[in-house]
C-alpha cells in the first residue's frame, strides 16, 4: 500500500524543528537514509535494508564478514546520514572502536578522572556515547569488555563508579566479526548473541558492483543535492510512530509464537529461541512493513525476517551446518496457518 502523496517534510532542514507526523513521513526519512547509504555502499541492498530495519526497530546488528567488504563504509555512511540536533554535548554522531584483547571496559564506557583544577572527579565519556557505534572485531576482546558493551546495548546506559550515565535514545551498534579467523578470539555466547537483533552474514558483492567500486575509487563524488540528511530527533520520532501506527494483527503474533514453538520442538535444536527475540521481532517487522510501503505487518515480512532474527539464537546438534535451514523449515507450517487464517 503506498501512502498518500506529499510528506509533510517538505523542507527537511537539518536541526530544524520539523516533526514526524505520519507514516509517510517516517517512510520518507527511512528512504532518505537508505538512498544515502546506497550511494556510498554499492551492491549491498539487502544488508542495507536489514540495517535500516534494525535502526528503526531499535535493535543492533552483528555483521559477519571478511575484512575489506565494506562494513565500516556502511557504518560510516549511516553515521553520516544523521545530523545531531540533540542538545546533549557529550553525544557524537558516529564512533568506531577496534576491539583488541587488551581493551578494558572503561575504554569504551568512559572513566572518572581527577580534575586538578576543580579538585573533583569528572566523568570522561567513552565511545559508547554516540548515535552510531561501530565495534570492529567484537570477538577479539575479553568477555568483560563484551559484557560492558552488551549492558550498554540492552539498558542504554553505562554505570561507572556507581553512577549511571544514560546513553542516547538513538544508540545503535553495528558490531562485526570475522567468521573464519578465529584464533585467539572470545566467541560471543548465545546469551550475548541474543541481544543482537540480526546477525547478518555478508557475501562478497557481485561483479558489477565490485567493478563500480573500482571505477569510483579515488574520484571524489559529488553527492546529489536531493540526498538530504535526517536529524536525530526525526529518527527517534519516526521510531515511535512506527511502533504506534503499523498494525500488528494478533494472527501475526500467533504466527511468531508458533514459529518459536516449532523451532524449540525441533529435534535438531538443543536451545530454542528466546521470548526476547519475539519481542525484538515486532518493531523489526513493523519497520520492514513500512519500508515495503505497508501500514500492517504481512506474512512476507515474517518470511523475510525470520531467518536473520532467529538463526543466530539457536544451538543445534552437531552435524547440522545451517541453523537458518531449521528456521526456514520451521516457519513453513505457521506461515501456512497464517495464510489460511486470512481466508476465514
Amino acid at each position: 500500500m503506498t501512502f498518500s502523496s506529499s510528506p509533510s517534510l517538505d523542507k527537511p532542514t537539518p536541526g530544524g524543528p520539523v516533526s514526524v507526523q505520519s507514516l509517510d513521513d517516517a517512510r520518507a526519512i527511512a528512504e532518505r537514509i537508505r538512498a544515502r547509504v546506497r550511494y556510498d555502499v554499492m551492491g549491498r541492498d539487502p544488508v542495507i535494508e536489514l540495517v535500516l530495519v534494525a535502526l528503526f526497530g531499535d535493535g543492533h546488528v552483528l555483521l559477519e564478514d571478511y575484512p575489506g567488504s565494506g562494513k565500516t563504509t556502511l557504518a560510516k555512511a549511516l553515521g553520516n546520514s544523521i545530523v545531531d540536533d540533540h542538545q546533549d554535548d557529550h553525544i557524537v554522531d558516529f564512533r568506531r572502536v577496534q576491539f583488541t584483547p587488551d581493551l578494558l571496559p572503561s575504554d569504551i564506557t568512559g572513566v572518572m578522572i581527577f580534575d586538578t583544577e576543580s579538585n573533583t572527579f569528572q566523568f570522561r565519556h567513552g565511545p559508547v556515547f554516540a548515535h552510531i557505534l561501530l565495534v570492529d572485531e567484537i570477538n577479539r576482546t575479553s568477555p568483560k569488555v563484551q559484557a560492558a558493551l552488551l549492558e550498554a546495548m540492552a539498558e542504554k546506559q553505562v554505570t561507572v563508579d556507581n553512577v549511571s550515565h544514560a546513553l542516547d535514545d538513538l544508540f545503535f551498534v553495528i558490531a562485526t566479526q570475522n567468521p573464519l579467523d578465529s584464533v585467539g578470539t572470545y566467541p560471543l555466547p548465545l546469551a550475548q548473541l541474543d541481544r543482537f537483533l540480526f546477525k547478518i552474514r555478508m557475501d562478497h558483492v557481485d561483479r558489477e558492483s565490485e567493478l563500480e567500486v573500482l571505477a569510483s575509487w579515488g574520484k571524489p563524488r559529488q553527492r546529489p543535492e536531493h540526498l538530504e540528511r535526517v536529524t536525530r530527533n526525526q529518527l527517534v520520532q519516526a521510531r515511535a510512530l512506527i511502533r504506534e501506527q503499523v498494525v500488528v494483527s494478533p494472527k501475526v503474533h500467533e504466527c511468531l509464537v508458533d514459529i518459536a514453538r516449532v523451532i524449540r520442538q525441533d529435534r535438531r535444536v538443543t536451545q530454542g529461541v528466546s521470548t526476547r527475540s519475539l519481542v525484538l521481532a515486532i518493531p523489526a517487522l513493523q519497520t520492514l512493513a513500512l519500508l515495503r510501503g505497508r501500514d500492517f505487518v504481512a506474512p512476507e515480512d515474517i518470511e523475510h525476517l525470520a531467518v536473520p532474527i532467529f538463526r543466530h539464537r539457536l544451538a543445534v546438534i552437531p552435524g547440522v551446518d545451517d541453523p537458518g535451514k531449521v528456521v526456514s523449515e520451521a516457519m513453513r507450517g505457521p506461515l501456512d496457518t497464517l495464510a489460511r487464517a486470512t481466508l476465514r
Binding site: M1, V247, S249, D295, F296, L335, T342, L343
Partner: protein
C-alpha cells in the same frame, strides 16, 4: 543421500496409500483369501504411515530399508509357523490367520520399505513406481500362452465388440504406467519426467514381453490339438461315425438321445457332418481343471442289472440332479464334502433337448434363470458345481466305502458281474502296487487306471455289441474299445477290489480348446463316459481313464466365432447368470455390495463437493464480503490448477498468479490489509472491484477448454488454502 525430496503433503500421502492398497489387491487377488487381501490393504496403509513417521524421525536410510526387507522376509516363516502351529480355533480359521499374517506382514514390509526409501531419496521413487506398474503387469501376465481371456471381465467385453483384447491390455498398461509416473514422480523437470516415463514404459514392455515367454508346461500333451493338425484332421479321415459314442448300446438309450440330431447314421461317409453344438456353458469364475478336461455330467449308471450298469432309481444316486429346475432351486443332498471342493458357479444353456440337465461335475444346485434367447436355447439354468479344490492324488489315504454306509448301499455300489475273472484280474493288477499303499483304496484305483491306460487301445471300430457282457468282452478280449468300454471295465474292476464306483455320462471338453472368454461351447462329438469313484468323506470323484494308444483323430477345434457368438447370447441373461442364493462362505466379501456402497459414497461425495463449490462462489455475491470474494476468486484459480502451495506465502502465490491475472498481487495486498491490517471502507470497495477485475483477467488468459474443465472440477476449492 543425494536429493532429499520435500515431505509429501497429507493429500499426496493419502493418494499414495490408496494406490498402495489397490496394488496390494492386484498382487494378492489371485493367490490370497479375502481376509488376507483386507489385511494386506490395511497393512499397506499402515506401512505408508509408518514410513512417513520414520522419515520424520530421521531414521537412517539403510536401517529403514532393512526393516522393510526384514518384515517382508519374516512374513513367510511366521505364516508357516501359524499354519503348522494350528493356532486358530478351527482349520479354516488357522488358514485364514496364517494367510493374513503372511500377506499382511509382506505388504507392511514392502510398502514401508518402498515408501520410506522413496520419501528419503528421490531416485527410489522409481523403484516404488516399478512396484506399482508391476502389479498391473502381473495381473495381465496371465495372458502368457496366449490366454488373452484373462481378466475375463475385460476380454469378454472386448470380444463381444470385436476388439482384440491384446490391444486393450497394452493400452491399459501404457495408461497405468503413465499414471504411476505422474503420481509417484511428481515435481520434476519436464525432461526428467519424460525420461522416467519412457524408461518405465520400456520396463513395462519388457516385463510384458518377458511374461509372455514364461510358459507353463501343460499337464497333458496338447501338441496334437493345434490348429494345423486339426485342419489335417478335417481333411477327412472319415472314420468317425458321427455319434453314438456316448453310452452306446449300453445305457437305456438316453445317452443316445442327448447326442441327438447330429446324424447318427453310422458308417463312414466321405465327409463327416460337422458335430452339432449341444450346449453353452458360461463360467463365472476361473477354473483350470486338474487334467485339462471339463466334465459335464448328465447322468450316472450305478445299478448292475445282470448284464450292464444302468441308471438306478431313487433313492440311489440322489446326489445327481435329474430334473430341470423350473421355478425353484434344486439342491442335491450333501454327498459332496464342502471342505474338499470349490464352488464353481456356471450357467448352462442347452441348444438341444436333453432328457436330464447337463452341468459341470459335480453339480449340487440347479436354479432357473431367464432364457436370454428362447429361439436359440431350449433350456437355461444356473448350476453350482463342486470341483475338487486340490489334485485327486492328494486325497490318498482315504477309504472308498464309508463306515456309515448301510449294507444295502455297499451291495449297490460294489456289485459286479457274476464273473470271477474281474476279481482275479484286479488282484493280478494290484500285485504291482507298492506295499506301502497296500490297503489304500485310492492308490488301488490309480494302479488299475494305470494298467488300463497302458494296456487299453482306444478305438471306435470295435464295439463289442453282440457280447452278453460287452465289458468282459473288452477287458478279457482284445482290450480295444472306446470310452464306454473303458468306463465299464474300470468300474467293474474297482468294485471287485472294494472300491465304490459308478459310470458317469455326459461331455468331456478340453479346457485348452476354449476360445474366447468364459464361454465353453460343447459339441455333440464330445460326448463321453467316465468312471467315478467314491471316497469316504469327500464324495464322488471323476476318475477317467486316458488310454495311451488310440487311433482317434485329434478332436475338432471349436469354432471360436460361434462360441463367442453363443456366449454373448447366453450372457444376455438378466440375472447375470449367477446363482441367486447368496454364497454361503462366511469369509467371502460381498464385492458387489461393497462396490455399490463405494459408488454411492463416491456419488454423495461428488454431490457435496459441487454443493460446496457453488456455495462458495455464491457466498460473496450475497454478502459482499471482500474476504469471501477473495476466497471465491482463489477457488477459480484452484479450479485451473494454480492453488497456493503449502510453503508459499500469499504474496508469493499472488506474484505467481500475476502471469494469469496482473491485478492479483494488488488484490492480495488489499486482502491482507483487510485481514491483518486496519481495514477501511475504500479498501473493501476496491477489493470487491478487483475481484471482478481478476476474474475477467483470468477468463482472458486461460483458454476456454481449460476454463470449462475448471468449472467441472468438483474439488478445486479443496486445494484453496
Amino acid at each position: 543421500m543425494t536429493t532429499r525430496p520435500a515431505a509429501e503433503s497429507r493429500g499426496v500421502l493419502a493418494t499414495l496409500a490408496v494406490i498402495h492398497v489397490g496394488v496390494v489387491w492386484l498382487y494378492l487377488r489371485e493367490i490370497a483369501t479375502d481376509a488376507a487381501i483386507v489385511t494386506g490393504g490395511l497393512s499397506a496403509v499402515a506401512g505408508a504411515l509408518l514410513a512417513r513417521y520414520a522419515d520424520r524421525r530421521f531414521l537412517r536410510l539403510p536401517l529403514g530399508a532393512l526393516l522393510g526387507l526384514g518384515a517382508a522376509l519374516l512374513a513367510f516363516p511366521l505364516g508357516r509357523a501359524v499354519l503348522h502351529g494350528g493356532w486358530g480355533p478351527s482349520a479354516k480359521a488357522t488358514i485364514l490367520i496364517g494367510d493374513s499374517v503372511t500377506f499382511g506382514l509382506l505388504a507392511l514390509g514392502v510398502v514401508f520399505g518402498l515408501r520410506f526409501m522413496a520419501s528419503r531419496v528421490r531416485a527410489f521413487a522409481a523403484l516404488e513406481a516399478l512396484y506399482v506398474v508391476g502389479s498391473v503387469s502381473y495381473m495381465f501376465a496371465t495372458h502368457r500362452n496366449q490366454m488373452i481371456h484373462r481378466p475375463r471381465w475385460l476380454s469378454d467385453w472386448a470380444w463381444s465388440r470385436g476388439i482384440d483384447p491384446q490391444l486393450l491390455l497394452q493400452g491399459f498398461g501404457v495408461a497405468v504406467a503413465v499414471l504411476a509416473v505422474v503420481t509417484l514422480l511428481r515435481r520434476q523437470k519436464a525432461l526428467k519426467l519424460a525420461l522416467s516415463a519412457l524408461t518405465l514404459l520400456l520396463v513395462g514392455w519388457l516385463v510384458y514381453r518377458g511374461a509372455e515367454h514364461l510358459h507353463i508346461e501343460p499337464d497333458i500333451d496338447t501338441s496334437g490339438l493345434s490348429l494345423t493338425d486339426d485342419q489335417d484332421g478335417r481333411g477327412g479321415k472319415g472314420d468317425s461315425d458321427g455319434k453314438g459314442d456316448s453310452g452306446g448300446g449300453q445305457g437305456d438309450g438316453k445317452a443316445d438321445g442327448q447326442a441327438g440330431g447330429s446324424g447318427s447314421g453310422g458308417g463312414a461317409g466321405p465327409q463327416p457332418p460337422p458335430p452339432l453344438p449341444v450346449a453353452v456353458a458360461v463360467f463365472h469364475e476361473d477354473y483350470a481343471p486338474e487334467n485339462g478336461l471339463l466334465y459335464f455330467r448328465q447322468q450316472v449308471l450305478s445299478r448292475y442289472d445282470g448284464h450292464h450298469l444302468v441308471a438306478a432309481d431313487a433313492p440311489w444316486d440322489a446326489d445327481v440332479l435329474t430334473t430341470f429346475p423350473t421355478d425353484a432351486t434344486l439342491k442335491a443332498p450333501p454327498v459332496q464334502a464342502e471342505a474338499f471342493h470349490k464352488r464353481m458357479p456356471v450357467s448352462m444353456f442347452l441348444l438341444v433337448d436333453h432328457p436330464q440337465p447337463v452341468a459341470l461335475t459335480a453339480s449340487v444346485e440347479l436354479a432357473p434363470i431367464d432364457n436370454p434367447a428362447p429361439r436359440r436355447f431350449v433350456a437355461a439354468y444356473s448350476a453350482i458345481s463342486y470341483v475338487l479344490a486340490q489334485p485327486t492324488i492328494r486325497l490318498v489315504g482315504r477309504k472308498s466305502v464309508p463306515d456309515d454306509w448301510t449294507e444295502e448301499q455297499r451291495r449297490h455300489y460294489l456289485e459286479t458281474p457274476d464273473d470271477p475273472r474281474y476279481a482275479s484280474l484286479g488282484e493280478e493288477i494290484l500285485r504291482d502296487l507298492d506295499p506301502r499303499f497296500a490297503g489304500d483304496d485310492l492308490m488301488k484305483a490309480y494302479t488299475i487306471k494305470q494298467w488300463l491306460e497302458e494296456n487299453g487301445f482306444y478305438t471306435r471300430k470295435e464295439r463289442h455289441e453282440s457280447a452278453d457282457d460287452p465289458a468282459a468282452s473288452f477287458l478279457f478280449g482284445s482290450l480295444r474299445g472306446y470310452c464306454v468300454h473303458f468306463a465299464h471295465a474300470a468300474v467293474h474292476l474297482f468294485r471287485s477290489q472294494g472300491i465304490a464306483a459308478r459310470v458317469a455320462i455326459g461331455y468331456a471338453v478340453d479346457n485348452r480348446m476354449r476360445g474366447a472368454g468364459s464361454t465353453v461351447l460343447i459339441l455333440g462329438d464330445r460326448a463321453h463316459a467316465w468312471p467315478e469313484i467314491h471316497l469316504a468323506g469327500v464324495g464322488w470323484v471323476p476318475f477317467d481313464i486316458y488310454p495311451e494308444q488310440s487311433d482317434e483323430p485329434p478332436p475338432r477345434i471349436v469354432d471360436q466365432s460361434l462360441e463367442s457368438l453363443l456366449g454373448e447370447l447366453a450372457r444376455d441373461d438378466k440375472t447375470g447368470g449367477r446363482a441367486e442364493e447368496p454364497l454361503s462362505d462366511p469369509f467371502r466379501i460381498p464385492w458387489a455390495a461393497v462396490g455399490f456402497w463405494l459408488l454411492l459414497g463416491f456419488g454423495v461425495t461428488l454431490a457435496l463437493a459441487y454443493a460446496v463449490k457453488v456455495g462458495r462462489q455464491l457466498a460473496w455475491m450475497a454478502g459482499g464480503d471482500p474476504v469471501r470474494a477473495y476466497v471465491a476468486t482463489l477457488d477459480r484459480f484452484s479450479d485451473v490448477g494454480v492453488a497456493r502451495r503449502p510453503d508459499e506465502t500469499r504474496e508469493r502465490h499472488a506474484a505467481r498468479l500475476a502471469a494469469l491475472a496482473p491485478s492479483m498481487p494488488r488484490l492480495t495486498a488489499l486482502h491482507l490489509k483487510l485481514t491483518l491490517g486496519a481495514p477501511t471502507d475504500e479498501a473493501r470497495a476496491e477489493a470487491l472491484a478487483l475481484c471482478r477485475q481478476v476474474r475477467r483477467e483470468l477468463a482472458g488468459s486461460v483458454g476456454a477448454p481449460k476454463r470449462a474443465l475448471g468449472w467441472l472440477n468438483p474439488l478445486g476449492w479443496w486445494f484453496t488454502r
